[in-house]
Subunit: 204 residues, 2 copies
């Protein structure tokens, strides 16, 4: 029994190590995508950043497209959790502010300001469909949040679709100007964007 | 003298026709860029849309890059005129609203919702520098407009750089969702974006 127990421990430990390594690879890949662009980045570039052999990288991801797919999946999963997490907040404006702040954090911290939102067409058709559906779902939920705010009188009678596009555009555009060495980091950008983009919808 | 006079008329007429043709080419090119992407578009595609021979196209533009450059130059020139035009408006908020509305109009009508802002790196280094400088100049002027609004008390104490990025992001992102056959056209998008993006800066 103690033997089996330590076996479980060991495999949990190995699993944990594997996940950490996986995250490091995604992190390095996203930095490479930001700096050189997705198309110019090779698996060698990513391996080099990690001081890893390319053959070792293959244990985690078969190719660059699998890495891109995983980055999309991970960030859309995070967005989904965030949306569900905000349901405990009372007002729509508070909920939308939290979503904007967290989405900005994902753009800057999880995605390292990498222009992922600009790169969907490079995925295989099946993966492209999956990512686009998840993104559409997220968009629709933002739109419904705004519709809700209009109904309960917190927001002006805006066009919910256009308001959603304005918010997502401002956030996605971060990939065009963000620099890790710059002074604007996630908490500041998130707070400013939340006030600007949600404040602009509120009734005054 | 009457002879010379009619000569002037004729050359003015030819000049005018040439300009119209040039505009048609830019228009067709922008539509092709939106539909197929810049890289996938060929000069043949553009000529085909105009029912023109490719050799006739060469009288106007030597290559695709020259067309892209001209689209950038024309839209940045328009933005410049707009900024100067708004100086007659009294309040900063009114001026910024007019700039947002007009920039949206350029994105949708002049640029046909083409993702031009996403394509600078394909230009030659000299042209790239010119376009990036003009774009930076425009950005700086928007930023100063916001700084001015903070000083005179019309705007909250936002970070002018981040507020400018949010506005430009929302506008540039139009290229990602705009469809000429859709119901959201320039006047509506411009009015909604102006209220949303400028309203979000105003003191309440």
């Amino acid at each position: 029994m103690p033997h089996a127990h330590s076996g479980v421990h060991r495999s949990a430990h190995i699993q944990k190590k594997r996940e950490l390594r996986r995250d490091e690879i995604l992190h390095a890949a996203l930095n490479a995508f930001r700096e050189r662009g997705y198309h110019a980045t090779t698996l060698d570039d990513i391996a080099l950043r990690l001081g890893m052999r390319k053959t070792a990288l293959y244990h985690y991801f078969p190719d660059k497209e699998a890495i891109l797919y995983e980055c999309h999946r991970a960030s859309l999963g995070e967005l989904d959790r965030i949306l569900r997490g905000t349901s405990r907040l009372k007002s729509v404006a508070e909920r939308l502010r939290a979503v904007v702040r967290e989405h900005v954090r994902i753009m800057i911290e999880t995605l390292q300001g990498s222009p992922l939102a600009f790169e969907v067409t490079t995925l295989s058709p099946a993966r492209q469909n999956e990512i686009i559906s998840a993104r559409d779902r997220y968009e629709r939920r933002l739109r419904r949040m705004i519709e809700h705010g209009i109904k309960d009188g917190s927001f002006r009678a805006v066009d919910p679709k256009l308001a959603t596009f304005a918010i997502l555009g401002a956030i996605n555009w971060i990939a065009r100007w963000y620099r890790p060495e710059g002074k604007s980091q996630a908490p500041e950008v998130g707070a400013e964007f939340a006030d600007h983009l949600v404040g602009g919808l509120e009734r005054t």
